[in-house]
């Protein structure tokens, strides 16, 4: 669920822009550093961005409330390219979705990036790291990361909406109302996201472990010199 232009008052979207930029700046720094190490990182990152674009554009209408839900793809992206870089690329993706698909908005890029790119990405990433620390199998860690990242994204954007639009109703109650509005589709979607994240990671691990240096255990795996080291 992306928040459209015109829903949030300027104060709110300004605030979320501010919060998001706090994550984007280290994101840019991280990308610059990794690009210097490995030139294949940039195309890799961009293609991951496309994947996030496609995944989060697959929205399903919710028949009951008339709302719209979709998977995020950011937990997967955070696992593959790192959470800060994910914040950067999902802000770009959100811009494209606003322009091309009428999905989200220009003024709300900050708010949407915070829920999808930052909270979704980081929570998924943390789950993943934690579970892998305890040697959980790849598919399980990926699946739970996908599920948690997805649910967290929706909790956050419901919170953003509620914060600005709770009127005289208590914030928490309005928050839960918004969240419940997405419930009917969100639960199956979170499960789909879990399955998807797990499957993709497993396929990538089986076929191209060199694309997942952090996962195969070797910190500086083969991606560092994938096809064009130092070019």
């Amino acid at each position: 669920m992306h928040i459209e232009d015109g829903i949030l008052p300027p104060r709110a979207w300004g605030f979320w822009y501010g919060v998001t930029i706090l994550f984007i700046i280290p994101g840019i720094r991280e990308i610059k550093r990794r690009v210097r190490e490995n030139l294949a990182y940039k195309p890799f990152l961009s293609m991951t961005g496309v994947a996030v674009f496609v995944i989060s554009a697959m929205h399903l209408p919710v028949p009951v409330t008339g709302s719209c839900s979709h998977p995020c793809g950011t937990p997967l992206a955070a696992i593959i390219v790192g959470p800060f870089a994910t914040a950067v690329i999902s802000s770009i993706v959100l811009f494209f979705q606003a322009i091309f698909l009428g999905h989200g908005g220009i003024t709300t890029i900050g708010a949407n990036d915070f829920s999808m790119g930052i909270v979704g990405g980081i929570s998924g990433y943390l789950c993943w790291k934690l579970l892998r620390r305890f040697d959980s199998p790849l598919w399980l860690a990926g699946g739970i990361a996908g599920f948690v990242g997805d649910v967290m994204t929706y909790l956050t954007s419901a919170f953003e909406l509620a914060l600005s639009l709770h009127g005289h109703i208590p914030l928490v109650r309005q928050w839960m109302i918004f969240f419940a509005g997405y419930g009917p589709t969100q639960l199956p979607l979170a499960i789909a996201e879990a399955v998807f994240t797990a499957a993709v990671l497993q396929v990538m691990y089986n076929r191209r472990p060199d694309l997942l240096p952090g996962i195969t255990g070797k910190r500086s795996g083969k991606i560092e010199k994938i096809q064009m080291k130092g070019a």
């Binding site: 083969k222 010199k225 994938i226 096809q227 064009m228 080291k229 130092g230 070019a231």
Partner: protein
């Protein structure tokens, strides 16, 4: 001083494939050089070493006498224009016009000059009026033509072409060959190309390298290389068709060819001579 020079170069892909082993190769300015070899021989890998898209594991690549390294890359890539084997890997813009403009903008072309160069390039590859089509909605051969146009438009000093005529229709291929020979002759642009179409080689190359399994097995002027029939065949290649015909005539018939014809023109001449000889010989 050679324009491009590789000495003792090896290359290994990250997955461990040894794609090139101890390559020595040099290209002089203004030359036309063909690289032949079976599938997987390492031709495409070799070409990517020229402009620093790949870096040798061992050995040295120099362009105009200077080693290809980080600080020199920009200049090298500007000098060496490269057409990739698979046009799908090369086309990334949303319209044909933008595709060709991409490299030109990097050369700081603008305005009228830009537009003229673009339409000129499309004219040359036989796709005028395709400016606003998406490169992804083209036929296989049309994609290849756009890829060629996007590089030709940049007028580099060296053109490195990975299978320039693959997927082109016969007339298109003939036109490209003529065009390439033309810019080589008139503008002095150096040509290096790989191809599986052996019949094209004598028309477009003065010198030939034959690769197999990552090594250079044979090199020399075109006629000399094709004279080594046995070696050519040993490396999964074949002779140009007319040369094959001449070989058969020599073996089964009573013809003798002092030097093997490689192109249709040469074959005609040689055969007419043989026939005239026969007529004369029996008088």
């Amino acid at each position: 001083m050679d324009l491009i020079e590789l000495s003792d170069v090896s290359f290994i892909y990250p997955d461990g494939t040894q794609a090139l082993t101890d390559i020595d190769l040099s290209v002089r300015a203004g030359e036309r050089v063909a690289v032949l070899g079976a599938n997987g021989a390492g031709k495409s890998t070799l070409f990517q070493l020229f402009n620093g898209l790949l870096h040798p594991e061992r050995g040295i690549v120099t362009v105009k006498g200077r080693v290809v390294e980080k600080a020199y890359l920009k200049e090298v890539r500007r000098m060496i224009g490269m057409v990739f084997q698979d046009p799908d890997d090369q086309l990334f813009s949303s319209t044909v016009r933008q595709e060709i403009a991409y490299g030109l903008l990097n050369l700081r072309l603008a305005g009228n000059q830009l537009e003229q160069t673009i339409s000129g390039a499309l004219q040359v590859v036989g796709l005028p009026g395709y400016e606003n089509k998406s490169p992804f909605n083209l036929s296989g051969g049309e994609k290849k033509r756009v890829a060629l146009a996007s590089v030709l438009a940049m007028r580099p000093e060296v053109l490195v072409l990975d299978e320039p005529t693959a997927a082109l229709d016969p007339l298109g291929a003939a036109k490209i060959i003529k065009l390439l020979n033309g810019i080589n002759r008139e503008l002095g642009i150096t040509l290096v190309f790989a191809t599986h179409d052996v019949d094209v080689v004598p028309l477009l190359a003065g010198r030939v390298y034959v690769m197999d399994k990552g090594e250079i097995k044979l090199s020399g002027p075109t006629a000399e290389v094709f004279a080594r029939k046995d070696l050519i065949r040993a490396h999964n290649l074949r002779l140009p068709r007319v040369a094959h015909l001449a070989e058969l005539l020599e073996r089964d018939g009573q013809c003798r060819f002092p030097s093997f014809p490689l192109t249709i023109g040469q074959a005609k001449k040689a055969l007419l001579e043989r026939i005239a000889e026969k007529e004369a010989g029996t008088e």
